[in-house]
Symmetry: C2
């Protein structure tokens, strides 16, 4: 306690944070980019409550159920905070039986009582952006579109992830994986636990994973070795072709069905122009039990474009994905893991309703991780410093000599005119502000234009428009006088020109802009 | 249990709901309108966690604290769901002492364990949209801008609340109110409780309120009667003028200071062009304890523009606000209460930090109520039926005769071309879809254009663009053929024309559109 009145720690709860300033602007830009892509593919959004009845979440997340946040029992129903957006979506489908198909997206916070690792972007409260296609459709068609959506999200301008090496997608199929386990001789009851051991191959060497399989999980060593023969394969159609050479594979119903799906998928990915971004990756297993078909994970080259990264990007551009993966594990700057993941889950909706079964496939983007990487890249490329906290275009100011009244109501009237016209404007909340303080406010917010009122000019019905940051010697350096009646039109024209890049701040100043200034100057 | 597998009720928790379909579109439009206004005034947004450490919320909401949702004690910190966005904002200011001023907005859900009344838009989980100005500024300047923001939000196109009578703002001042109580002889310790009795005058007749004051709260009858003399006054500057005639008023420091503020405020509201929307309303008290200056509430004419409403609008246009208020209480269609409210709270930030005191003034828009009214108005004016669930512009379809392959990968390639160009497009997730089913999908989603692939045309590198819903006899009724290489440009041009309202669906069909069709037809 001591000198402060406040007898408790003043902070946000563990694993949560406030978002503010430029971070908010970057995050909103990411949401906006993602939403644009989702809408381009016909997505509609739904919004479910932040908490659900507790039994709805029970039995859906396996061991991770212990990470669910419960609400206190304050009388009435027992509720828990949502753990992801997929289970609430399945619950929504189940209570709306007239909806048999939908492309839905949902951008919202989810909650997990995990050990936070903020530097890696792992929080207890964090955003997910999900896109899911529900409905009984022809095989692999929506699955392919989901992957196309992934490529559009990461390929969009603005995230700075364009270019060939920025990301790639690992794909596998639960039937392929289960078929491999069957072919290798894994007993049925051990398939899921051996599957989670395989999933660790992106973090641990084979020796450790094998040890887990044999020592902990009691798999015969020769079975483990046979699995290793299969799961280190990765690539494109060559992986499929090699598997098909193997008579054991062709005798397994799961493998045949899974490979047929993958074959179709690759055909569709080719039509969508994204075959180069995907990799058939036989050791990808993913943790959640509810997947039933294709599964995928999106990997980026890490949080900061280090020298290693650039080397990797080049390697990736040449298609040397094996080298690329080996290098990654040695680079400490690489470690945010996957930035999106998903797959097909055909049986989750049926868990809520004995009758209706709606097949689904979807992707979840981990926005906080995408944010960390995007921000690091913007900082590295100096684009972060160009981000303005507000979008204000005009600062309305006044100045005067002795006996200056401050022209407050006059500044308000000008602001009103601008707001009426939809122009973003501010003014100092002071009766008699000093001119340097007003300029400082405008500069700090990066506001591009000032409108300056003076008492004499005011009496003549005129104000001055001044573009901020013009260099010495620029013909409009001191601003241009306009009639108040023309002000809105003039500001609009200047904003339009600025938006189109007809910058009046040019090197060598007097070129372009002199002749423009001719027409503009009225004072 | 019985025939279903699911042994619990499948629903959302009490007082919560899923948002979906057109409701989501309308709600997003409201958010977007409000955000546009907030940004026009230089607002920046912050995002705080959905739960706070429990002591941060304690002692801020008086009796309503019992409505706070707590999280279970699962080890670690004790947390509660936020009850509003104001206390988290004050907490954020307190832990960020370098921020001495900000215009911040926040659109997010808040939680109250209240008795839900869904038809009136009262929920346990609901959205608030807050805009607050923090900082030590000259008196009443940010207060006036907050009220200007209110008028812009409700005046914006798209909410359908434009026109004179759509809403009005009741304003009072805590110092005026407290001064009145002092002048009337209310003992200091009874001021807050008498204030909440006065606040009920918008729902209850004076007799009941007086009974509460005298019988329950032990106020002498003559004191209550003196209060009534004051608090039934409402209007504009005339209210101030009348009060100033009263020597008791001019001898009270609170009243003198409060009236000076109101005088300044009215001057600024006049400069902002919104004086006609506000009413000095002496019985407005507002519940929360933390207000210290001006307080306000926004009232609309109700949920449906009934005949009574229209009469009221006319009355309001003529400035007959008294008549207007009397009528309201008799109209059962009126009952959503206030749609926004706020005021000045100069001492809340200091509750979190013994040293720093940051004066604030803000407004909170009750979005769910605004939504209910907006939707009812859209339905009444038939604009609701024009809302499309998705924004898709093109449906890519195929048809063919005997032996038709379905052209799936070809449809995918066309969709890819459109997506690459940023055009929103869908296609049927079927190998061999039937043409009527494809048209039905496009029609149900209100998609304006179809691109139709046929096997013969495909072989010649051509596809057909067809605008949906053209009348019989329209020259482009059957669509126009274009080279695949020109497709994106053609679609863009058609979309541009449609967006600009150069509708090709016109009455009498052959007028305008024939000559347009000339240039377009290529097949």
């Amino acid at each position: 306690m001591g000198k402060d009145k406040v007898p408790y720690q003043l902070k946000t709860p563990k694993g949560t944070k406030d978002w503010e300033g430029k971070d908010m602007v970057i995050r909103d830009r990411i949401f906006s980019t993602i939403t644009t892509v989702f809408k381009r593919h016909g997505g509609v959004t739904i919004d479910t409550p932040v908490f659900e009845l507790r039994p709805i979440l029970s039995g859906k997340y396996g061991e991770d159920s212990k990470l669910i946040y419960d609400l206190s029992d304050q009388g009435g129903e027992l509720c828990s905070l949502r753990y992801d957006l997929t289970v609430p979506f399945a619950r929504w489908l189940a209570i709306n039986p007239t909806i048999q198909s939908i492309k839905r997206y949902h951008i919202a916070k989810v909650y997990r009582r995990d050990q936070p690792a903020m530097t890696k972007g792992r929080m207890r409260e964090f955003y997910q952006c999900d896109f899911d296609v529900a409905g009984a459709y022809d095989r692999m068609v929506p699955d392919a579109e989901i992957l196309r959506i992934v490529c559009e999200v990461f390929g969009e301008q603005g995230l700075g992830w364009t270019g060939e090496g920025g990301f790639h997608i690992k794909i596998n199929h639960r039937k392929v994986l289960d078929g491999i386990f069957e072919v290798c001789g894994v007993p049925k009851e051990k398939i899921r636990t051996i599957s989670s051991a395989v999933d660790k191959l992106d973090k641990s060497p084979w020796e450790e994973v094998k040890k887990e399989m044999v020592d902990e999980k009691g798999l015969p060593e020769e079975v483990a070795d046979r699995i290793w023969e299969f799961v280190q394969r990765k690539g494109g159609r060559d992986v499929m072709d090699a598997l098909r050479q193997d008579s054991r594979v062709m005798a397994n119903a799961n493998l045949v069905a899974g490979l047929e799906d993958m074959d179709l998928l690759f055909t569709y990915l080719s039509a969508f122009g994204i075959l180069s971004k995907v990799e058939f990756y036989l050791s990808l297993a993913r943790g959640l039990d509810y997947y039933t078909g294709v599964i995928f994970e999106v990997i980026t080259e890490g949080s900061v474009p280090s020298a290693t990264d650039q080397k990797l990007q080049k390697a990736a551009q040449k298609g040397k994905t094996a080298e690329f993966d080996e290098d990654r594990s040695n680079d400490p700057s690489v470690g945010v893991g996957s930035v999106a993941g998903g797959g097909r889950y055909d049986e989750l909706v049926g868990m809520f309703s004995g009758k209706a079964q709606i097949p689904c496939v979807g992707i979840s983007f981990g926005v906080d991780r995408i944010f960390s990487i995007t921000k690091a890249r913007m900082e590295a490329s100096k684009t972060a410093s160009a981000i303005r906290p507000t979008e204000v275009d005009v600062f309305v100011m006044a100045f005067g000599g002795k006996g200056f009244t401050g022209l407050l109501t006059e500044r308000m009237q000008i602001a009103k005119m601008l707001w009426d016209a939809g122009i973003k404007a501010e003014f100092a909340y002071k009766q008699k502000p000093k001119l340097p303080a007003q300029f400082k406010s405008a500069e700090q917010s990066g506001i591009p234009f000032a409108i300056i009122l003076g008492e004499d000019e005011q009496a003549q019905g005129k104000v001055k428009i001044k573009e901020m940051g013009l260099l010495e010697g620029h013909p409009e350096k001191d601003g241009v006088m306009v009639d108040i009646g023309d002000l809105v039109g003039e500001v609009r024209e200047k904003l339009r020109r600025k938006a189109e890049g007809v910058e009046e701040v040019v090197d060598g100043v007097n070129g372009l802009s002199t002749q423009d200034a001719e027409g503009k100057t009225r004072g």
